[in-house]
Symmetry: C2
Subunit: 206 residues, 2 copies
């Protein structure tokens, strides 16, 4: 009885990523959007999610909306906590990629070292996308009034004002939202996904 039970509860292999991807007809991956506050990361993330979902992709956005009050609710705004915030996002994004999703993360993530951690978590599935707009453009948009508050000194260590933004050195894609509108910006990302994450369909093409 004992021996039998031991054998019975031997662990079998999990459903692997390749099997998931074959069913989904696309690779899993992390689209890591990085850029200044106001550069358009959240908008781009949500619009790309909608478009990819409509195309049949399995896609999910990680951003402040679903992480701030949940997984990262016990983190503040110290440098250490911000690093831990990005570390957790990177690890969760990697899990979603492993589960076969195209996971879009939308966080300023101003430090190269933190983004490098996220890249390591996801491995080859990591796609860094620089959502790029100059500070003046971002500040003029200021959708949440944060730049104004930062200029008044009410928000310490605000990226671009009182804390650095370390631009990606070798991003997979740059989306310039200062000179392109949302439709153009979304199209660039969709094209990138089609080239890098879609499975080639064998029907109807030669």
């Amino acid at each position: 009885m004992t021996t039998k039970a031991t054998n019975i509860f031997e662990v079998h292999s999990r459903v692997d990523r390749k099997t998931r991807e074959e069913r989904n007809r696309h690779k899993g991956g992390v689209l890591w959007l990085t850029g200044l506050s106001g550069a358009g990361k959240s908008t781009l993330a949500v619009e790309v999610e909608r478009a990819l979902f409509a195309q049949g992709y399995h896609v999910y956005v990680l951003d402040g909306d679903n992480l701030r009050h949940g997984l990262n609710s016990n983190l503040g705004f110290s440098h250490e906590d911000r690093t831990e915030n990005i570390r957790r996002v990177g690890e969760v994004a990697a899990l979603f990629a492993e589960a076969g999703f195209v996971c879009i993360s939308a966080f300023i993530s101003p430090y190269r070292a933190d983004r490098e951690g996220a890249r390591k978590a996801a491995g080859d599935s990591f796609h860094e996308i620089h959502v790029k707009a100059d500070l003046a453009t971002c500040e003029s948009r200021d959708p949440k009034g944060l730049y104004e508050r930062a200029r008044r000194g009410e928000i310490p260590d605000f990226t671009g004002i009182s804390a650095p933004y370390e631009e990606p050195e070798n991003p997979k894609l740059v989306v310039d939202t200062a000179s392109q509108d949302v439709t153009q910006s979304v199209a660039l990302v969709l094209d990138y996904v089609a080239r890098n994450l879609a499975f080639a369909e064998t029907t109807g093409k030669t």
Copy 2:
């Protein structure tokens, strides 16, 4: 230009859970397996994942294998760290449920208060499943030799030996792995999922 840019980068609504579930033809949810070490949580999780995947479900397992070295790599074994471990698992499981997955978590999670936190994160999508085997059975299996080490005093605060296991008071399902084999145990969970998470198909049934 400024106004235009501001308007352009207005955030639209994300793909909501209902839309995801309709495409998947099943609800998202968290199957929270709790029980002693050796009760069979991991085996059950992996076997249920395989079976559900084969049935077309979107399903993913969270367990020590994919969390210990990633998201929870900066946690130790103090009571505080164990609580934080379960809190993070609960939050990530809730994200997977929100993304439309059946997320199976397989952790001892011995404390009611910790499981209650996971339940709150996932809301109505939380399904507590007690993977139940008496201590003697679990100890006789001892697949990783942990009970033996715990009895020798080499592992402090080991659930069932030197730390309590607080049984679920009102689990949605009890799977008795001491008296049932894996096939029977898996069938119980599959039946539960079919009754609680599957969408009723309208074709061919009256």
